[in-house]
Symmetry: D2
Subunit: 404 residues, 4 copies
């Protein structure tokens, strides 16, 4: 059995998974949003839930905000609220897809006033970054078209670049922007940031503080995500992840549930890059933002998030166990199957005992899920919060100015 | 140029495309439902819009209802309302996916009371069929699971079969049930009716009045839909279509907009089967229900439906032009490219003049889109109806008891 | 740690994986067949290699033959040759895709004489079954078309059914036919047996001894294979597997290497069905033929096959560890995540120690790969056989009449 | 009906489609290469066939060579041979995937001597460019891996870049290199140049004379190819196309046969870019190399190539007919459906009469396929050349030193 060495302990202590505020509220598909008892109703309840996840796991100390879903009057107070509960504010996620004017796009809309409105919202979110001390502006655009000919693809590209450039140049000095791409949905014919290559080309053109964000659910079938990760790490342009899982489209399931070998392989690239001889690659790996982005449509929200964080921890722990000397030796001699086994032997290892040992050593419950179930947290919030009826699709919260 | 022969005229006159009531209301993605000025707010307005589409095209004489979205107290009155406007009531579509109890499934739920509630709703819809004189009960289930292990797949299969059997045996004497399948969404790991084979096996086990419904957007990438159509026609189990278009998932775009050759190829099979020597195949082809099922997220609703109907008409007209003698001769001699050209020569033909001639001959506007735009219909309904705010996802309408 | 109980021991002893003769010879892609030193040159060498795999693993006691690649004059002698080395002859795989006349299809060819030639070959293979005592005739057809219109899909369907029926009715009394389906390749527009539904419908129409064969690489992206497995088990029509792995198309990689959770989930269905209350389901599960079908393009052949067998053993062993009581309880209460964990906890378990214990108990090397590497087998065959130059694509062997 | 204006005539006269030498020889899938009567046996016969295609179409004046398949001692003589038949030598395609040493890669192999051998072959092909006066070096690499862990992805990336850089810097002054990418096959886990983004990033890093080559069959399902084309045109990095068609993987069917709307949409972007205000975009569009890359597995080779060229001509002619004023007006006002129709109205137009008129005006047969069939060319070459047996997969020709 693998035991907790100092190196493993240090590495496990260094892991960070950011949970998203929106993962604690009701969400659904276009067909139905099922209301879950106790689902968080506002940003304060979301922070409470995130704090519970961090309390039980020890590796989820920050929370991504979605503006305007999590908009408040006083971000300093919000930060204090979070810190009092042991967590902090993470990435800021603007929303330029739920206003009626964005029907044909936001920063790439055919209409100049719409484009400007979208950019202004992005700039406001930069201001929120300053107020919350966030390092990362996490940008996802629903922009695209549904029909061949609907719009001029090159015009839209120019508009995207211009908007990204304006935002980039307004970033706080130590801030950066993470540019997310997506194959499709909600645009069904063409998405302006349609793949990592498009996001990458924009980032390179815009400036050093623009990096690519990889959402595990935003690729076509058959795409090798760890290959993209390795490529971007090597180019110094991997900024972060939105972790989730999917079988077909952007299903936003719990990360690691459909192909755990894929999640492990991604972590294997990240761990390797963190030990690279190349300074840029190493620094890039060390600054990657690990964020969850899921829709918990039928699952209990807090338990689903716990499971997600634990799945990341397990994949990472396995990646730490790879015998890199054996792997490298097999690769260099072209020993295909020995190299594959050097990687997958680590994957085959059951790291649950190791992680229980690590948790014990740090005063955490050895089985966070069981501890959560035993704690009565879910029953308590269900009683206190009741069952909020969300709108369909993603929640749109009214502005909340005070915690209950 | 191809001219309107008696045969062509008769064939074009025989075409029927059913439009769906829900295609006239607001719909959206999980991210946002954009409210469209003038979008229909209730079943009466939907019938008004459907009547406009039929008035302009002449081939869309019936409207599919969705229960409970279109539920009314008096279906006889609803039928009269429709007939006064020149249209009739078509297929009845139950909804067993938007009640909170259906979170883990409807007819395949782990819970017996939920399964029973779902079956009761289906039986109520059979009663609506009697009241509206509908021939077809169109069944789509969101039932499935999101995670490996979530439920027992064979138990769910048995539950599905039992429910289908009960409904089948309750059908009106001349009624039938159309069983729709879908690869994924909203279930992301496993869908109980996951492909045509699953639907077909259930239909065969249940009875003669159960047939398969093919929705063009419900297949995995790379699947040959016309092949499925030909197979089901030959087995006497093709019941109908839900027409739409997609590039990636179930995008529910306007039919014929992403790959018009595919739509044409499907019609080519249908026209051929309609002339088959085999009586079962021929009868099956003649009784196919052609229905549109789309979400018009960014398009003007009525114009989008007009375009959809016209795209079907164009594909069908091209299929009528196939030189079946030349095609058959080339096929029989193994002349691969001549056979392909015999098919695609018809596709290459511009049938717009032919269709204009047919419309002229029947007192229809030669360009229905232009006529619609010129009519001011859209402006009128926008003024009269205003802009209704839909919920996200599919609309859930309150019960409506009287037209405005 | 999990220890070897009597039940586990009995279950592990009952596992059978059939290896394919063609997996020991050179194979390649359409671009290149790389010649591997020591790759088997004829059926005798293939049996030698298969015996080595069985000697090291204890669970691979039979070898599938491909006719005419493995054609010999005296099958009784071939059977003795195999038995002397500890293995037996398994499924018979006819080949109706490599003769020049099959350019446009075999049993579905437009040409009657070609169809008849194909059926005659299938009937000859039935005769080989009798001579070798094989239970299973394993049928894969390359038949299909490359272009829309190339051929009449319904005519081809009738031809397929007629051919299958003739072969079915000629089967030995205790024999059966396994009907394989495939999404695409080498037919690129339409494949006559295009999915499990098509194979299933033919089997049902033909007779009781026709069952469906599931090749893991023959599905479209996103298809849930364990769902198909469960469906076919429940219908009593699952006959066997061709195991392999793929990321995109029919890549024929080593089984379990791209998504081990999927292979485990398939075994989970099989183990569950083996304990079903339903006699048909139970009997069906117990008679499933587990066969490997892979192309080892860059891997050492014997080691690749060992790895494949071991991956199946590992997946099966994990499936045996599922706490079915806990799983069922969670499923029945709709506890989504507990049910998912009840399944995946077994997957997370490292069964390598358990399997080493089982091997020890049965006189097998605890690490078959290491034992193989230490044995010098590969070096020996490389020296003795040299490096045979295969043709491109699958090997076509001249008839071999005597072993070296 | 659309008539041949001076502008249309000029545009149609400017079209160029390069045919590939290898499209005239036998090719196949990994399962079988069917030998076609009269298939070209060497580069001279390939040039003869290409000349026939150009003679009948007037727009296929150049032939891409594949080295070493088309290797000769005297390229000057080969050039004369071509010119005497009315055609010229086009792009040079190195082959670094069919030598046994390339089993684990060519320029990215783990082994230094293999990498060097591959680079030397590429440099020899640069020398062939000089001798043939070719402008384009067309680079496709089979390099990649089949298993997770098999090799170090970042090391391979560095090796790829180093090789590309060496070749780039050795190019003739007016030459360029076209870097092709591919999702998968023959590498099944990871391909070193896995998508346009990877190729683009390398090109940008390497130099101005490196551009991306888009093969229509090398994308994942659902990818919008015209979007990539527009993006690369705008960045000045679109170098050329390999035209073909596919339904699922890299099927290498006749271009335009599975989704003609897609081919049209690609041409629509190219025609639009050719009129761009941006000088770089315009120049890029004007220098695009249009090349066919297909495998004619079951089709008569010359007729298949004729059909391919004509399909490109038809798509291009339709793109020329787009009412760009109407399209732009609709796009600018956000009139989704009017914009879509402005595009697709051109697609709906039957351009066969227009093209017949253009052919008449230039002394070409109005129906090139019919003319070819009437000419007896196929019968003649079948008689003269006989039926050559190709190896499986792509042909590997012995060096040919003299024409017959």
């Amino acid at each position: 059995m693998t035991h907790l060495t100092d190196d493993l302990n240090a590495a496990l202590c260094a892991q960070r998974i950011e949970t998203p505020s929106w993962g604690y509220g009701n969400s659904g598909t276009r067909f139905k949003t099922f209301a879950a008892p106790g689902a968080a109703r506002d940003v304060y309840e979301k922070l409470d839930d995130a704090a519970e996840v961090h309390r039980l796991t020890g590796i989820a100390p920050s929370v991504a905000l979605h503006i305007p879903w999590d908009e408040v009057d006083d971000y300093a107070a919000l930060g204090r609220y979070a810190r009092e509960r042991g967590v902090g504010i993470g990435a800021i996620n603007p929303n330029v897809f739920q206003d009626d004017v964005y029907k044909l796009g936001s920063v790439t809309s055919p209409f100049e006033d719409v484009r400007e409105q979208a950019v202004q919202h992005l700039l406001e979110c930069v201001e929120v970054m300053r107020q919350t001390g966030s390092r990362d502006l996490s940008l996802w655009f629903a922009d695209g078209t549904n029909y061949a000919g609907q719009d001029d693809l090159r015009r839209r590209k120019h508009a995207m670049r211009a908007a990204l450039k304006r935002v980039h140049d307004a970033l706080p000095e130590d801030g950066r922007m993470l540019v997310e791409y997506k194959l499709f949905e909600p645009a069904f014919y063409y998405t302006d940031l349609f793949d990592w290559g498009a996001a990458y080309a924009h980032c390179v053109a815009i400036g050093d503080r623009a990096q690519v964000l990889v959402d595990l659910g935003h690729h076509a079938q058959g795409v090798n995500i760890e290959g993209i990760v390795a490529f971007l790490l090597d180019e110094g342009r991997l900024g972060g992840f939105h972790f989730n899982a999917r079988r077909y489209a952007d299903d936003d399931l719990i990360v690691g549930t459909t192909n755990p070998l894929e999640l492990f392989s991604i972590y294997a690239e990240l761990v390797a890059a963190g030990h690279s001889d190349d300074a840029l690659t190493r620094a890039t790996a060390q600054n990657v933002a690990y964020m969850i982005d899921q829709s918990h449509n039928i699952e209990p929200k807090v338990e689903a998030m716990l499971q997600s964080v634990l799945n990341c921890q397990e994949a990472y722990a396995k990646a730490l166990l790879i015998d890199r000397g054996a792997l490298s030796a097999a690769q260099q001699t072209g020993d295909v199957l020995a190299a594959h086994r050097a990687l997958t032997d680590a994957f085959r290892t059951d790291v649950r005992p190791l992680l229980a040992e690590w948790r014990s050593a740090h005063g955490l419950p050895t089985d966070p899920i069981a501890a959560h179930r035993a704690s009565g947290y879910q029953q308590t919030v269900a009683r206190e919060r009741g069952t909020a009826q969300g709108g369909g699709g993603y929640p749109v919260k009214d502005k909340v100015t005070a915690a209950q």
